[in-house]
Amino acid sequence: MSVSSGPSPLALPGRERRALYRARLRAWAPLLVLIGLCLLIDIGNPRFLTIANLVRVATAAAIPLVLALGTTFVILLGSIDLSLEGVLAVGSVLTSLLAANDANSLSFGLAVVPVAVLAGALIGALNGALHVGFRIPSFMVTLGIWFAGVGLATVLLGGGTVRVLEPLVRDVALTRVLDLPVLVWIALAVLLLAWVIQEYTPLGRYMYVIGGGEDIAALSGIPINRTKVAVFTLAGAFYGLGGVMAAAQLGVGNAMIGDGRLFPSVTAVVVGGTSLIGGEGGVLNSLVGVMIVTVLANGLVLLGVSPYLQQAIQGLMIIAAVAVSIDRVRSAIVK
C-alpha cells in the first residue's frame, strides 16, 4: 500500500494532484471498505463490536489468513496456486493420523506440526519444480496437485474421518491466551513472518519484480526459477500449517476438510487490493481482504440475512471492493 513520494502534492498542477489523491485513495480503499462494513454491521446489530464477537471473528479469520498469505506470495509472482485444498487435506490427515487419534495408536504430540508443514512445503516444491522445469502454467500444475493431494488424503484414510484426540493439538484451538485462542496467535505470528519475508528479504523483493515484469527481471539477472520454486514451497508450507490448524479447530482429519476454502482465499487476496496479474499488493492487503470476507460472513448471520440472499450479497461485495481499488487508468487493456 505505498504511493511513490515525490514533490508535495500542492506543488503539482491540478490534474496531476487529483490523480495522486485518487491513487492514494485507491491504495487505502480496501481498509476504508472494511471500516465502513464494520460500522454498518454494528448499526444493524450492536453486538458486532463486542470483545466476545471480535474474538470469534478473529478465530474465524485465523485459518483463512494463513492460507491467504501463502496465496498472496504466489499471486504476487503473477501465478496462481489452486492446490490449497489438496495440501490442506494432506496436512490435516497427517496431523490426525500421527497425533493421538481414534484410528491407530500413534501419538507424536506436537511433533506433527513440523511434519505437516514439511509435507506442505514438499508438495509446494513439487508445484514449483513442475511449473518451472516443464514450463507448465501454474494453473494446470496446481490444479493437478490439488486433486492428487485430495486423492492422497483419501487413500491414507480410506475415505473415513479420524478424530484427533491429542489434547496438545486440540488445545491449539481450545486454549486461550489473553482471551484469544492460540490459533489466532499462530496466525498473527505467520503474518509477521510473511511481512518480514516480503519487506526485508531478497525473496520478497524478487517476487514483486517477477510479478511486475518477468522479462525485465530476467534481464536484471534475478534468479527467476529459484525464486518461483521458493515461493511455491513457502505457500505449500503455509497450507500445511493451515491443515494442522484446521484439524485442531474441527477435531478431525479428513480429505474434505479443505472443501470450499480456495475461493474465499483467492477472493480475500483480490479484494484486499493485490492484483491477479502480479507485482502489486502484499501481505497487509491480504490481511484487510481476509478481514473483509470474514466480517461480511459474520455480519450477514448477525443481521439475520436470509441464507437465500447471502451468496448474492457476497458476490456483489467482491465486485464493489475490487472496482473501488483497481487502477482503471493504468490498466488500459482489461481481460
Partner: protein
Amino acid sequence: MARYNPAMTALRRRSFMIGSGGLALAATLGRNTGLAADKPVLVNSIRSLTNPYHATWNKGGAAFAKSVGCEYVTLVTEGNSEKGIADIRAILARTNGNMVLNVDPNDSPDARPIVEACVKAGAHVVTQWNKPADLHPWDFNPYYVAHISFDGVRYGEETANHLIQAIGGKGGIVALGGILSNTPAIERKAGLEKALAAHPDVKLLDFQVAEWLNTKAHDIVAAWITRFGSDIKGVWAANDDMGTGALEALRAEGLAGKVPVTGIDGIKLAVDAVKAGEFAATVSWDPFWQGAMGLSIPYHARIGAFDPTKEPKLHREFYGTGILVTKENADAFAKEHIESDPNLDFNDLWGRISGPIRQS
C-alpha cells in the same frame, strides 16, 4: 531438410488419423465380443470416496460383489453432474450393457439421462435419493428396477423431536440446513418445521445454510453465539458433518454437552458424540446396506430371480428404514454397524421397505 509442403503434411496426418482410428475401433470391437457371456459388472456411482457415508456405501457394494463373484467398479462424480453421466455412459459402452448400476445421482435431473442411457444399453439400474418426481421405474420396464429413498420429512421431524425433548420442551433452537436445492435438505427442513409446529413453546431463532460442510457450520454457529448468546438451547443440523462442525464451535465456547446437537447420517463421529452426551440423536441410513442392496436388487432382476414388471409399485419406489441412534441404543448400534461390517442377508431384497414414496 526437405521443403515443408503443407499438402503432403496434411495427407500424412490424415492417413495417420484414419489408421489409428481404425485400430482403436478394432480393439473395442474385439474386446466386446468376449464379454457377452460373462457375469454382469456391478457398478456403484456415488459422490466421492472422501466422505465416510459414501466410503461405507462403497464397502457394502464391494462385499456384495465378492459374495456373487462379479467384477465391481466404483464411479465418483466429485459433485459434477456431467462427469457422473459421462462416466456411466462410458462404462455402459465398455460392458456393452452387461452390467447393473446402483446410482446416487449428483442432482435430481441427472436421474433421467442416466436411466435412459441404461435402458438403451439394456443394463439394469437402481437409483437412490435423487430423481425427478415424474420419473418412475414402472415406465421403463424392465430395466429401471427400483428407486430407493429415505423419508427426509419423517427423520428430520424425529431428530427435531428428540432435540426438543433434550432441551426440556421449550426454549430457542437454531437450525443448519443443507444445500437449498437438494431434495434431502428440503425434506428434512420440512420435518423440522412440522416438529416446531407441534411444540409452540420452542422457538426457531434462525435458520442458515451450511451446505452440508462442517467448516461452514462451525463459523455460522460462532456468529450465532454472538447474536443469540445463551438463548440458544439446542442446534438442529440436517446432517452429521454440519452437526460435528457446530459441536466444535460450541466446544470452543465451553458449551459442548450443555447445548445438545442433532444430525443425520449416523457417521462414527456422530455416534461417538451421542455416546458422550454431546449429540442428542442421529439417524443412520446404513450406507453399507444402500451400497450392497442397491446392487443386489438389480442383479437379482437381471439373473431372473424375480420379474420387476410383476412386482407391486411398493417394491419399485420405496422408502428404506433409517435407524434412529440415541443414547439408549448408541452402544449397541456402534458395535453392530461401526466396529464391524453389518451382517446382511443379500437375498432379503424387500425387508427394509418402510413405505411408498410420497408422490408430490
